[in-house]
C-alpha cells in the first residue's frame, strides 16, 4: 500500500510541478528560519563550553528597582559581594571577582602599550581552567600582583618570545608577568574585543585573602563567580540561593538600600549569561521582560507557520482536482484513515524535501552570518545534542499540521457528488481567504517594524552624525595624573587645528548609567524627575555641542569644579541642565528654570549623605550622548573633575584639517606625558560601532520580512493560478452574460484584495505595540507617524495585485466558447 501511495503522490507532483515547487520552497524557507533561530540560540548556549567546570560555575547577579522606576538586572555586582558570599557560603569551592577593565599604559622596554586591564583575584584560575600558553596556575598563584596576559596581546607585544618573568613598568611600579593564557575559544564571555561580555587584555591578579573592598553597594563593577563543590553540588547551590535571598537585608547598609525601592541578588549560569547580556543591550529597560532568544524563536516559528498555512491552502485547492479520484477510492473501499494517510504522506514527502532544501540554505547562509555577526550557526546546530530530535519532530509536526486542512476537506467529499459532476470546490473560500490573510498579516507586521526601526535608525543618525560639523574625538582615561583638559586648553593656541577641549566621565554611546533624581522643591509630593548625570569640564558644550537656550554655560572665571568645594560647603553648586530635563521638572520654558534650585530626593540624600543645592545657571538644547535608559531622555551636567581613569579627554578638531588635528593631539598629549599611548576614538565611530546592534536588528527584521513576503506572495500566486483555473467555467458564464475582460480581471483582483486588507488590520495593532516597545529603548526617539503603516498597506496591496493580477487577466481572457464547449 505504501508503494501505491508513493506512486500516487509522485503522479500528483508531476501533474502540478509549479505548485509542488512552491510548496517545497515555502516549507524550506520556513524550516530554515526556524533552524536559524534554533542555531543562534544554541550557539549562545554553548558559551564557555570549553571550561571544564562550566556546569558548576555561577555568576552572582544584582538587581534593583530605583526611585524612578528603572529596573536593572545586572550580571555585575558591587565590589563587596565576593567577600561576603565567601563568608556566608563556606562550602563554595572558590569565589572570584573580576573588575571592569580600564585602560592602563604599560612601558615595555621603554615602549608604551595601552592595555585594557582588569583586577582579578587568584581564585579565578581555580574556577576557570584557562589554557596556558606560558606559565601555569602555580606561577599565577605564586606571583601576587603580577600580570597575566592574553596570548593575542602577548604576541602583539613580545612576538613569539615567552614573556613570563619579564617586567613591565606601570607608573613608578615594576610589575612581573606571571603567565600567558590562550584567548578563550568563542563563544565565550571572555575575550579581548569590546563585543566580549567580560573583555580584558591583561589581568592583574591579587590574592583573595588580601582583598579589602570598598563598602559601596550601588556601583556594579565586578563580575563575581562562585564554584560549587563537586560533591553535594545541589546542596551547596541551595545554600547559596538561601544566602542570596536575604543578602541585601543582611549585608547592604540601610542608608544605601534606602536609595532604591528594591535590591536583590541572584545567580546565572554561564549558559544563561550570553543571552541575558544581549537582552540587556537591546532592551534597556528590564521591565520589558523580553528575551532576544524568545523573540528570535518566535520569529522562526512565525515564518514556519506562514509556510505551513501556505501549504494548507494550496494543497486544499489542489485537492479539488482529486475529487473524482477520491470519490472512486471511497466507492471501492478506501476508509477515511486511508485517505488521510495517503495525503499526509504527500505532505510528509514535501516537508522532507523542504527540510533538505532548508539544510542547503542554512549551509549557504551560515558563513554570511558568521562574517556579519560572529555567530557560528553551523557549530551551534552541530553541537546541540537535541538537534536530531528537533529535526525529526519538526518534519513530523509540519507535515501533520500542513495536511490537516486538505485531509479534512478530502474526507468530507461525498463520492456520489464527485463522481456525478467531478466538480467540487477547493475548500471553503472564507477559510482560504482567512489563511491568506494570516500569511500577509505576519509579513505586513514585519514590514512595518522594518520601516519603524529604519526610521528610528535614520533619526539617530541624523541627530548624531553630522558630516558638516567638526569631528569630536575621545581619548580614553587620559584626563588624569595632572593631564587635565584644563591643562590642554591652555595649549590650544599652539595647535590651530584643534578647536576645543574638555573632558567627560564616560565614553558616549556606551552602556553608561548614572542618574540624578532631583526636584525643584523640598516639599513632599513636589515635581521630581530623573536624568542621566554627565560629569564634564569647561567648554564641554563648545566641544561636543548643545546650544545655549537660556542663562550661561560653565565659566572658569566664575565656576569651580564641584570637587573643589570644601566638604562642609553649604552654598549652591552651579548646574547646567538640558531643555528636556527642564521640561520634566515642570519649568514652562528654559528661561523660567534659570536661577532655580534643584535638590536631591530625600532617599538619595540619605544614601549619599549629601544634601546640596544645585542652582541652575544654564539650560542647553538636548543632545544625545547615550542610546537610552528606559524613560530617561535628558542630561544633568555636573562640572566635575577627579583623578580617575573614567575621565576621558574630548577634543573637537577643525573639519578642514583632520589629519593635522590628529597629529596635533598626539603632539600635545606627548608634550606633557611622553609615555602616553594616544588612542583616538571618534564619537561618530563609537556611535556606529555601538549602533551595529540596532542595524543588525533592522537587517534581521528585513530578512524575516522578505522571507515572509516571499512565502506569502508565491503562495498567493499559486492560489491565484488554482482559483482562476477552477473558476474558468464561471468566468465563461460571466463573459457570456456580458462581462468584459476588465470586469472579470477586476472582480478576481478584488476578491484577492480583501484578505490582504484584513491582514493589515490584524497586523497594525501588533506592529504598533512592537514599535513602541522598540522605541522605548532610545533616549532620542522619533515620533511614530502613520507613514510606516500606510507604506506597509500600499506595499502589501501592490505585491498582492502583482501576484494575482497577471493570472486574473490571463483567466479573464478566456473565450466562453472554449469553456462552455461541452454544452
Amino acid at each position: 500500500m505504501l508503494k501505491h501511495f508513493l506512486l500516487s503522490a509522485f503522479s500528483h507532483y508531476a501533474k502540478a510541478p509549479l505548485t509542488t515547487l512552491v510548496n517545497v520552497v515555502a516549507l524550506a524557507l520556513g524550516i530554515a528560519c526556524f533552524f536559524g533561530a534554533l542555531g543562534v540560540s544554541s550557539y549562545w548556549g554553548q558559551s564557555d563550553a570549553t571550561f571544564e567546570n562550566r556546569d558548576r560555575i555561577r555568576l552572582i547577579t544584582q538587581q534593583f528597582v530605583s526611585e524612578d522606576g528603572d529596573m536593572r538586572d545586572n550580571p555585575m555586582v558591587a565590589e563587596p559581594v565576593a567577600k561576603y558570599i565567601r563568608e556566608d557560603v563556606p562550602e563554595l569551592e572558590a569565589v572570584a571577582r573580576v573588575t571592569s577593565s580600564d585602560p592602563a599604559t604599560f612601558l615595555v622596554d621603554g615602549a608604551p602599550f595601552r592595555l585594557e586591564t582588569a583586577l582579578a583575584n587568584s581564585e579565578l584560575f581555580q574556577i576557570f581552567d584557562f589554557e596556558f600558553a606560558h606559565g601555569d596556575v602555580e606561577s599565577v598563584m605564586d606571583s601576587p600582583g603580577a600580570l597575566v596576559l592574553m596570548s593575542s596581546v602577548a604576541k602583539r607585544i613580545y612576538g613569539d618570545e615567552n614573556p613570563v618573568g619579564k617586567t613591565v613598568q606601570f607608573g613608578e611600579a615594576s610589575i612581573a608577568i606571571s603567565a600567558v593564557i590562550q584567548d578563550p575559544p568563542q563563544p565565550s564571555h571572555f575575550g579581548t574585543t569590546d563585543q566580549s561580555i567580560r573583555p580584558f587584555e591583561a589581568l592583574q591578579v591579587i590574592p583573595a585573602a588580601s582583598e579589602d573592598p570598598e563598602e559601596w553597594w550601588l556601583g556594579v563593577t565586578n563580575f563575581t563567580y562562585v564554584l560549587l563543590p563537586e560533591q553535594n553540588t545541589e546542596a551547596a547551590e541551595r545554600s547559596l540561593n538561601s544566602a542570596l535571598s536575604d543578602f541585601s537585608e543582611r549585608r547592604v547598609p540601610e542608608e544605601q538600600r534606602a536609595a532604591l525601592i528594591r535590591l536583590w541578588f541572584g545567580t546565572l549560569t554561564l549558559e544563561e549569561l550570553q543571552s541575558k547580556v544581549l537582552d540587556g543591550q537591546i532592551f534597556k529597560d528590564s521591565r520589558n521582560a523580553l528575551s532576544v532568544n524568545n523573540i528570535l524563536f518566535g520569529m522562526g516559528v512565525l515564518i514556519l507557520i506562514v509556510s505551513i498555512i501556505n501549504y494548507s491552502n494550496l494543497a486544499t485547492a489542489q485537492a479539488a482536482g482529486y475529487a473524482k479520484e477520491v470519490g472512486m477510492r471511497k466507492v471501492v473501499g478506501a476508509s477515511q484513515s486511508s485517505i488521510a494517510l495517503q495525503y499526509w504522506l504527500e505532505a510528509f514527502i514535501l516537508t522532507l524535501l523542504g527540510f533538505v532544501l532548508a539544510v542547503a540554505l542554512t549551509v549557504l547562509t551560515a558563513p554570511v552570518l558568521k562574517a556579519q555577526a560572529g555567530i557560528d550557526l553551523m557549530a551551534g546546530l552541530a553541537q546541540n545534542p537535541t538537534i536530531g530530535f528537533w529535526a525529526g519532530g519538526l518534519i513530523l509536526t509540519v507535515s501533520v499540521l500542513a495536511s490537516i486542512y486538505p485531509v479534512a476537506y478530502l474526507s468530507r467529499i461525498r463520492p456520489v457528488e464527485a463522481l456525478r459532476s467531478g466538480k467540487v470546490r477547493g475548500g471553503n473560500r472564507k477559510l482560504t481567504e482567512l489563511l491568506v490573510g494570516i500569511q500577509f498579516a505576519a509579513a505586513s507586521a514585519l514590514l512595518i517594524l522594518v520601516l519603524v526601526v529604519g526610521q528610528q535608525n535614520a533619526h539617530m543618525r541624523d541627530l548624531v552624525l553630522s558630516p558638516d560639523e567638526d569631528p569630536v574625538v575621545i581619548l580614553e582615561g587620559l584626563a588624569v595624573n595632572g593631564n587635565h583638559s584644563d591643562d590642554y586648553r591652555a595649549m590650544l593656541d599652539q595647535y590651530p587645528s584643534l578647536k576645543a577641549v574638555t573632558h567627560i566621565n564616560y565614553m558616549p554611546w556606551s552602556d553608561y548609567r548614572n542618574m540624578m533624581n532631583t526636584s525643584p522643591t523640598r516639599e513632599e509630593g513636589g515635581p521630581e524627575a530623573t536624568s542621566t548625570r554627565t560629569d564634564v569640564g569647561y567648554d564641554f558644550f563648545d566641544t561636543y555641542g548643545g546650544e545655549l537656550l537660556a542663562g550661561r554655560l560653565y565659566d572658569p572665571e566664575r565656576d569651580q569644579y564641584w570637587q573643589a568645594y570644601a566638604d562642609d560647603y553649604q552654598g549652591d553648586f552651579p548646574t547646567v541642565i538640558d531643555a528636556t530635563y527642564a521640561e520634566a521638572l515642570g519649568f514652562a520654558s528654559p528661561e523660567e528654570a534659570i536661577g532655580q534650585p534643584l535638590y536631591m530626593t530625600r532617599q538619595a540624600t540619605q544614601t549619599f549623605g549629601w544634601d546640596p543645592t544645585f542652582r541652575i545657571i544654564g539650560v542647553v538644547e538636548t543632545v544625545p550622548l547615550v542610546y537610552g535608559i528606559g524613560n530617561i531622555r535628558s542630561n544633568f551636567y555636573a562640572l566635575a573633575r577627579y583623578d580617575s581613569s573614567e575621565m576621558n579627554l574630548m577634543i573637537r578638531i577643525d573639519r578642514t584639517r583632520v589629519a593635522d588635528g590628529i597629529q596635533a593631539i598626539e603632539d600635545m598629549v606627548k608634550s606633557r606625558d611622553p609615555n602616553a599611548v594616544v588612542n583616538l576614538r571618534f564619537t561618530d565611530d563609537e556611535f556606529e560601532r555601538n549602533f551595529q546592534t540596532y542595524q543588525g536588528i533592522n537587517i534581521g527584521f528585513m530578512g524575516l520580512s522578505l522571507i515572509a513576503f516571499a512565502i506569502s506572495t508565491i503562495g498567493l500566486f499559486a492560489m491565484a493560478v488554482f482559483t482562476t483555473l477552477q473558476r474558468r467555467h464561471e468566468i465563461g458564464i460571466r463573459k457570456t452574460l456580458g462581462a468584459s475582460t476588465q470586469d472579470v480581471t477586476w472582480q478576481l483582483v478584488k476578491e484577492f484584495t480583501w484578505p490582504v486588507l484584513i491582514a493589515n488590520l490584524i497586523a497594525w495593532p501588533v506592529a504598533y505595540y512592537a514599535s513602541t516597545l522598540y522605541l522605548h529603548n532610545f533616549m532620542q526617539r522619533m515620533d511614530l507617524t502613520l507613514l510606516p503603516w500606510i507604506v506597509g498597506l500600499i506595499v502589501t496591496l501592490l505585491i498582492a495585485w502583482v501576484a494575482v493580477g497577471g493570472q486574473a487577466f490571463k483567466a479573464a481572457r478566456v473565450k466562453p466558447a472554449e469553456v462552455l464547449k461541452s454544452e
Partner: protein, 232 residues
C-alpha cells in the same frame, strides 16, 4: 433580424482540421421561435455559439440586426452580446456562490444598470418564472427545474432581442421540462425571438420552425410556404 451567409467554422489543431460548420445560410426573423435539431456532433452547439457571439466564424458573414458583426473585436462582441442576447444552458450554469437574485441580476450589473432599477427588474423577472419566494436562496438549494427557471429569468432580464436556449430541458424531468417550454412559449408570445437547440421532437414542436442539421450543414431550414404563412 439574423442573417448568416456562407458561414464556415473550422477547428484546427496541430494534427488535423475539423470542419464543424460548412455552407451555412440562415435567416431568422424577429419574433420567430426556431428549433435546431440534429444528431450529436452535427454542429448545433457550434451554430448556437456563433449566433450567440461567443465564438467567431472562419469564413462567411454574420449580420445581426442589420449590422455586419463578422469582424467585430472581442470587446465589441461583448457589448453586442450583453445588450442583445440572453442565454439558457442545459446545465443551467448558475454561479454557486451567488444567490438567486444576484444570479438573475448579473446581466444588469454588466450593463451598469443602477441598483434600484436592478432590484425592481429582478423582482419582475422572478415573478415571471414564479420564484420570488426563492430570491435569497443559493442554486444548490433549488431543484433542477427551479434552477432552469432562474436561468430563464436571467436570460430575459435585460430584454434581449434574441434568446438562445441550448437543450433547456435536457437535464429536467418531463414536468419541469414542460414548465420551462411553457415559459419559452410565453416569452415568444410576448415578442421574444427564440433559437432553441434540442434533441426532443416534443420540445421542437413548440417552435414555429425546425432547422435540421447533419454533418455541419443545414439539411432543412424549416421554411416552407405553409409554415411561413402560419407564422405570419
Amino acid at each position: 433580424m439574423i442573417q448568416l451567409n456562407n458561414i464556415r467554422k473550422v477547428y484546427a489543431t496541430k494534427d488535423m482540421e475539423t470542419v464543424a460548420l460548412r455552407d451555412i445560410n440562415l435567416t431568422i426573423d424577429t419574433g420567430e421561435f426556431v428549433a435546431v435539431m440534429g444528431p450529436s456532433g452535427c454542429g448545433k452547439s457550434t451554430l448556437m455559439n456563433i449566433l450567440g457571439m461567443i465564438d467567431t466564424v472562419s469564413e462567411g458573414q454574420y449580420v445581426f440586426d442589420s449590422e455586419d458583426i463578422t469582424d467585430f473585436s472581442e470587446k465589441k462582441l461583448v457589448q453586442m452580446r450583453k445588450a442583445n442576447l440572453g442565454f439558457i444552458f442545459q446545465s443551467f450554469n448558475l454561479i454557486d456562490e451567488l444567490t438567486v437574485e444576484d444570479n438573475v441580476a448579473l446581466p444588469l450589473r454588466y450593463l451598469k444598470v443602477p441598483k434600484s432599477t436592478r432590484e425592481s427588474r429582478v423582482r419582475e423577472a422572478l415573478e415571471l418564472v414564479g420564484l420570488n419566494n426563492r430570491a435569497r436562496h443559493k442554486p444548490s438549494q433549488l431543484s433542477g427545474g427551479q434552477q432552469q427557471r432562474v436561468a430563464v429569468a436571467r436570460a430575459v432580464i435585460a430584454d434581449p432581442k434574441l434568446i438562445l436556449a441550448d437543450e433547456p430541458t435536457g437535464n429536467l424531468d418531463s414536468q419541469n421540462g414542460d414548465d420551462v417550454m411553457e415559459l419559452l412559449r410565453l416569452l415568444n408570445e410576448q415578442g421574444s425571438t427564440i433559437l432553441m437547440v434540442t434533441h426532443s421532437e416534443k420540445d421542437a414542436s413548440k417552435a414555429h420552425r425546425i432547422i435540421r442539421m447533419l454533418d455541419g450543414q443545414i439539411q432543412d431550414d424549416g421554411r416552407s410556404p405553409e409554415k411561413e404563412k402560419a407564422h405570419a
